[in-house]
Structures are given as structure tokens and as C-alpha cells.
């Protein structure tokens, strides 16, 4: 026999045609997706274009029309001049408050979450599973249930109505999430590595610091993103525990928007909302799949 057999001399059966890849089904598919994409994008589109329209245009025209005389005035207003509560300082100071509140809270809660996760997975702890269950449950609780006692605690610590107080609150409640993220990650960490490190004499901190932490960079990123987004976007704690000098941005925004006196400056509202949304949106766009991992880790496996 030769290396490659030759085909039979004649083709007894007439060949069939290659079907086209663009079928009606595919067209429908894209159409539906595009429709939904439009619906999803619409609010932010409205928000942006209306934030650069002068007020009379908004009142005279309709929300979806492009601005005829675009102006950045509403943005300036929202940022530095708008009336928030009793002061006309715009959102700037509150933007700062949010930052001051978020950054320490994120860093500390991530660090502690990592430590907790590490301890829970690498050491046999009596009732380790129960602790896991308790932590898991704790991230689901309605925060309303802790408002009152927390207010009292902050009062006793002298932190009521301060940014420091907010940092404390967010850190505490961020630890729960962090613990979960890290626990799940470390539970899947290859045990052989840990065992061999232990045999080489690594102790508690060395194991954590030199082996597990460096390997957990992706989950650290995920955690930071998730915490940042949640804490920045929080409203309830902000509204309950801050006073007008320490409002986080969300509370300030709500104040701006819900003021029932005077003329409703829609464009300023939209500008303000967009300013408030920018940091988390940027984080979202930049972090892409890490954001998704955070979402998923916060929910389930399998």
C-alpha cells in the first residue's frame, strides 16, 4: 500500500452547497442585543447630555435631544457652587470626604480580610465551618439592624458625625466580605505548596507574608475593587453617621437632588450624579474582568 490512498475515481454523489453563516436567526440575535444595549445605555446618555445643557433647553426641549448650546456651567455649579444643605460649596468637599473615607477603609479591611481568610483555611480551628457560616451570613444582613447600636458606639467613641467614624464603620463591615473572598481563594490554594513550605520550617507569618500573600495578588485586586465600589457607593451608613461637614459624596448628592425648594436645576443634578459616578465607573472600565470576579466571588461557586 502506498502512503496516501487515492480517492475513488468518480464521485457518485453530487456535492452539496456550503450554507451561509449569516442566517435570519443571527440577525434577530444582534437586533435584540442591540435593543437591550440601547436601553441600558440610555440613562447614562441622558445624564451626560443633559448635564451640559442650559436649563431652559431642558425645560423647553426633550431629554433625548442633543444640546443646542452646550455649556459646562452645570458642571462647575455641581462641583463648587451648588447648594448642599446649608452651604453652597458644591460637591467638591464631599468628594474629598468620600476619598478620605474610602481609602483607609479599603486598605485596612482588605488586609484584615486576607488575614482572616488565611487563618480560616490553613489552621484547624474549632468551629471553623461555623465561623465561615457566620461570616457568610453577616454580609447579607440588612444594615438597618446595626444602625442604632453603631450610632451609640460612635457617640461613645467621640466619632459621631466624623469621617473617621465612617472609616471605622466601613472597615468593620468590609472585613466580612474580605474574609469571604480570601477564604475562598485560599481554600483553593494548592496545599502541596503550603505543606512543603511548612516542612521547610515556615511559621505562621512567614507562610502568610512570603507564600500566600504574594500569590493572592489577583484576589487582592478584586477585593480592593469590590470594596472601593461598595464603600464609595454606600448611602445608608453615610446618611446615618455623618453630619454636614463629613457627608460622603452620595449623601451630598442626594441632598442636592432632593432639595424641594427653589428651582430644580436638572442639569446640575445630572452633572452632580455623573461626578459621583465617575470614580466607580472608571474603576469598572479599567478593571473589567476583576470586577466580574468580585461579583462572582461575592455570590457563589457552582
Amino acid at each position: 500500500m502506498s502512503s496516501v490512498t487515492t480517492a475513488t475515481a468518480t464521485t457518485a454523489v453530487p456535492p452539496s452547497k456550503k450554507p451561509s453563516t449569516l442566517t435570519l436567526d443571527r440577525v434577530w440575535l444582534y437586533a435584540i442585543l442591540l435593543l437591550f444595549a440601547f436601553l441600558f445605555l440610555m440613562p447614562i446618555y441622558v445624564m451626560v447630555i443633559n448635564s451640559i445643557k442650559p436649563l431652559d433647553e431642558i425645560r423647553a426641549g426633550n431629554l433625548v435631544a442633543l444640546p443646542l448650546a452646550p455649556t459646562l456651567e452645570p458642571w462647575v455649579q455641581a462641583w463648587s457652587q451648588a447648594q448642599i444643605g446649608v452651604q453652597a460649596t458644591g460637591l467638591k468637599p464631599y468628594f474629598l470626604n468620600s476619598f478620605l473615607m474610602v481609602i483607609p477603609a479599603v486598605l485596612i479591611s482588605t488586609a484584615l480580610g486576607a488575614l482572616n481568610g488565611y487563618v480560616l483555611t490553613q489552621f484547624k480551628i474549632k468551629g471553623g465551618t461555623l465561623i465561615f457560616g457566620l461570616v457568610l451570613f453577616s454580609v447579607f444582613i440588612p444594615f438597618q439592624i446595626v444602625l442604632i447600636p453603631m450610632a451609640k458606639l460612635l457617640g461613645e467613641l467621640g466619632m459621631a458625625g466624623t469621617v473617621k467614624g465612617l472609616i471605622l464603620v466601613h472597615t468593620i463591615y468590609g472585613i466580612g466580605f474580605g474574609t469571604l473572598f480570601f477564604r475562598n481563594f485560599y481554600a483553593a490554594f494548592p496545599q502541596e505548596l503550603v505543606k512543603s513550605a511548612r516542612m521547610d520550617g515556615a511559621g505562621f507569618f512567614v507562610l502568610f507574608w512570603r507564600l500566600m500573600l504574594p500569590a493572592s495578588l489577583p484576589i487582592v485586586v478584586v477585593n480592593i475593587i469590590w470594596q472601593f465600589t461598595n464603600i464609595w457607593n454606600d448611602f445608608l451608613f453615610g446618611a446615618s453617621f455623618s453630619d454636614y461637614s463629613s457627608y460622603p459624596l452620595t449623601v451630598a448628592l442626594n441632598n442636592l437632588v432632593s432639595s424641594s425648594t427653589g428651582v430644580k436645576e436638572y442639569n446640575v443634578h445630572f452633572a452632580g450624579a455623573f461626578i459621583a459616578a465617575l470614580p466607580t465607573l472608571i474603576v469598572y472600565i479599567v478593571s473589567g474582568k476583576y470586577f466580574v470576579r468580585g461579583l462572582m466571588a461575592g455570590s457563589v461557586k457552582g
Binding site: 500500500m1 502512503s3 496516501v4 464521485t11 454523489v13 453530487p14 456535492p15 452539496s16 456550503k18 450554507p19
Partner: protein, 352 residues
């Protein structure tokens, strides 16, 4: 029951050509094995026949129908996957009946078919279980049952035994062969294991890099491999090879010693590769090759003996425990008719 023809089928993924101009004919009822190393294209070819992928060029016909672009369900082909691919949310009975359900076979007939097939495969006591409650071997039978229930014109097996442990694999191999003898359905079987290929196929197609290296019966492949790759792929332990030359008269010369094998004088002076299978090396007092024993591998029924020669390491196959010890010296010989000669450059067989 139908004859399958694959004509000039090729497959390209972007710039990578996975299959080059494959053509082969299967007679009705034949058991063809596609064998080759990983990446040779055998699974791709299988997918094309099943309808899970489209060929870039070429035609596939089954019986009188051109099935090249038909969707899988219209081809009357059944497939058993390497991972069995059972539906996890259905019971064994539902799994087996599923293809019949899809073809709107009435319930009574479905039940009968399930009963018949499960009896044949001895899984009738597992009908109410879900796949996760089954062992590997049981799952595999369910997968076969699901394919059988349809009485298709063509059976496709994609490395079905690879995930089983060694002993089970040997048992299942025999069962598959018996099944084929009983049902007589035309079958294509893909594997990377050459022992499976040899024992199961009526014919074997050896593939490498998307090309059929040789298409022949098992014994032909073994005794007359058409190129070096086939010679080395089929047969365990592998064929022994050594560099050799061809003198003016066309005789193959090994290290100055004539092998007694003559080929076309057109190859005179060209380097060739001399090949001899382990069982064809004979220990004689006046043999032409000097050898020293370096390793003994007894397997029970026979032994593989590694020896050092002037041309490198050779393996011998001897029945029983073999009568040699490490360091023994011996002389080897062989019958010229058992020699395989390959051109060193093209790797093609040169002697008939």
C-alpha cells in the same frame, strides 16, 4: 448500514492547516481505526464526519447521501465521546432514550429499545440512576447504549477507553469488538493507543500532522510499514533502527556487514535506515552483530532485553524469563525478509 466515503477533506483554522487532503473509503460494516499521536488531526476528522465541524474543502458521503454540510442530527451517525458526555440531569434510561425522543419515536418503542440495549450492555439494573452515581466503566456503557439505541448507519468512537483504568480498558476492548461482530455497524474508532488499534480494527489509518501515513490492515501495517513513522508507531516495544548505507549492487550494508537485503540500485550510495523488530532478532553463535546485555525487563510471559551494540541500543524480545544476565555477551542475527529499509531523507520504505 452504509458505506462511508471521505474525499479530499481538509481543515484549516486560520493559517494552521490541521488536515491535508484526507481521502478514504469504508466498506459497509467495516471497523476503521484512526490512530496517531496527539495533534495529528484524528479528532478533527471525526468531528467533521459527525457534523460538529465543517471541512474547509472536500466531501463526505454516507451511503448515497452527501452529508458534508448536514447538521449532526440529520446524518444518522451516533458518537461516543471520550468523556462519555452523559446528560447529568437525566437518568440512565432517559439518557439512552434521548436520541429516540428527539426523533419523536413513540414511548412504547423507546422503552423497548432502552430495555434491549441495556440488557445487551448489562446495565439494566442501573436504569434509574443519574450519571454521577455511576462508575467510569458504567458510564461508558451508558454512552455506548445511547449510541446503539438509535441503530445508526455509522458509529463514531472518540477515544472511548482513554479514561478507564488499564485493566478495565482491556476488558472493554474485547467487549467492543464483540459488540461490533454482533451488530455489524460501520464504525470509525479514534485512539492514540496502538494496541487498541491493532486489536480492534479491520483496517487502520495512521495519521500524523493531518496526513494519512498508511491505510492498511493491522498485519500489513506491522509487517510492511510504509514509512519510518508507521514502523516506529506500531509495535511495542518499538522497532530497532540503525543507520546504514547502500552499496553499488543495491545491498544494504550495516557497519560494513552485508544484511542480505537488496533494494533498487538507484539508491546506491544513499544513507538509509535499517529496521528490525525486537522479536526478529535471533541470538546465534555466529551472528553478525555483537551485543552486550545492559537491562532486563521481564513481564511474565516474555522479557525485553536491552543490549548495547555498535549501532546503539537494541531491544530483544524473548519468551519467558530469557536466559541472560546483565553484562552477557552475545551475537545477533536476523532473516533478511524481516528487515525494513527506509530512505533516511524521505523516511519512505524502500524494500518490498
Amino acid at each position: 448500514m452504509a458505506a462511508l466515503t471521505i474525499q479530499n477533506v481538509s481543515k484549516q483554522f486560520g493559517a494552521t492547516k490541521v488536515l491535508h487532503q484526507i481521502s478514504l473509503d469504508l466498506a459497509d460494516g467495516e471497523f476503521l481505526v484512526l490512530v496517531g499521536p496527539s495533534g495529528c488531526g484524528k479528532s478533527t476528522l471525526m468531528n467533521i464526519v459527525a457534523g460538529l465541524e465543517e471541512p474547509s474543502t472536500g466531501q463526505v458521503t454516507l451511503g448515497a447521501r452527501d452529508i458534508t454540510y448536514l447538521p449532526p442530527d440529520e446524518r444518522d451517525v451516533a458518537m461516543v465521546f471520550q468523556s462519555y458526555a452523559l446528560y447529568p440531569n437525566m437518568t440512565v434510561a432517559q439518557n439512552i432514550a434521548f436520541p429516540l425522543e428527539m426523533r419523536k419515536v413513540p414511548k412504547a418503542d423507546r422503552v423497548a429499545a432502552v430495555k434491549k440495549v441495556s440488557g445487551m450492555l448489562q446495565i439494566d439494573h442501573l436504569l434509574d440512576r443519574k450519571p454521577r452515581a455511576l462508575s467510569g466503566g458504567q458510564r461508558q456503557r451508558v454512552a455506548i447504549g445511547r449510541a446503539l439505541a438509535r441503530s445508526p448507519s455509522l458509529f463514531l468512537f472518540d477515544e472511548p477507553l482513554s479514561n478507564l483504568d488499564a485493566k478495565l480498558r482491556v476488558d472493554m476492548r474485547a467487549e467492543l469488538k464483540k459488540l461490533h461482530m454482533r451488530t455489524g455497524v460501520t464504525t470509525i474508532y479514534v485512539t492514540h493507543d496502538q494496541v487498541e488499534a491493532m486489536t480492534l480494527g479491520t483496517r487502520i489509518a495512521v495519521l500524523k500532522d493531518g496526513l494519512i501515513q498508511q491505510l492498511a490492515t493491522p498485519m500489513e501495517l506491522y509487517e510492511r510499514p510504509s514509512n519510518l513513522f508507521v514502523a516506529e508507531f506500531i509495535g511495542s516495544p518499538s522497532i530497532n533502527t540503525a543507520d546504514a548505507t547502500v552499496d553499488a549492487s543495491g545491498t544494504v550494508v550495516l557497519n560494513g556487514v552485508s544484511t542480505g537485503v537488496t533494494i533498487d540500485t538507484a539508491h546506491a550510495g544513499k544513507p538509509v535506515i535499517f529496521g528490525i523488530r525486537p522479536e526478529d532478532l535471533i541470538v546465534v553463535d555466529d551472528g553478525a552483530i555483537d551485543a552486550t546485555v545492559t537491562l532486563l525487563e521481564p513481564t511474565g510471559a516474555e522479557s525485553y532485553i536491552l543490549v548495547d551494540t555498535a549501532f546503539g541500543e537494541f531491544t530483544l524480545r524473548m519468551p519467558g524469563p530469557g536466559d541472560f544476565n546483565l553484562g552477557d555477551r552475545m551475537k545477533l542475527s536476523f532473516a533478511p525478509s524481516k528487515v525494513h529499509v527506509f530512505d533516511k531523507a524521505t523516511q519512505l520504505r524502500l524494500n518490498t
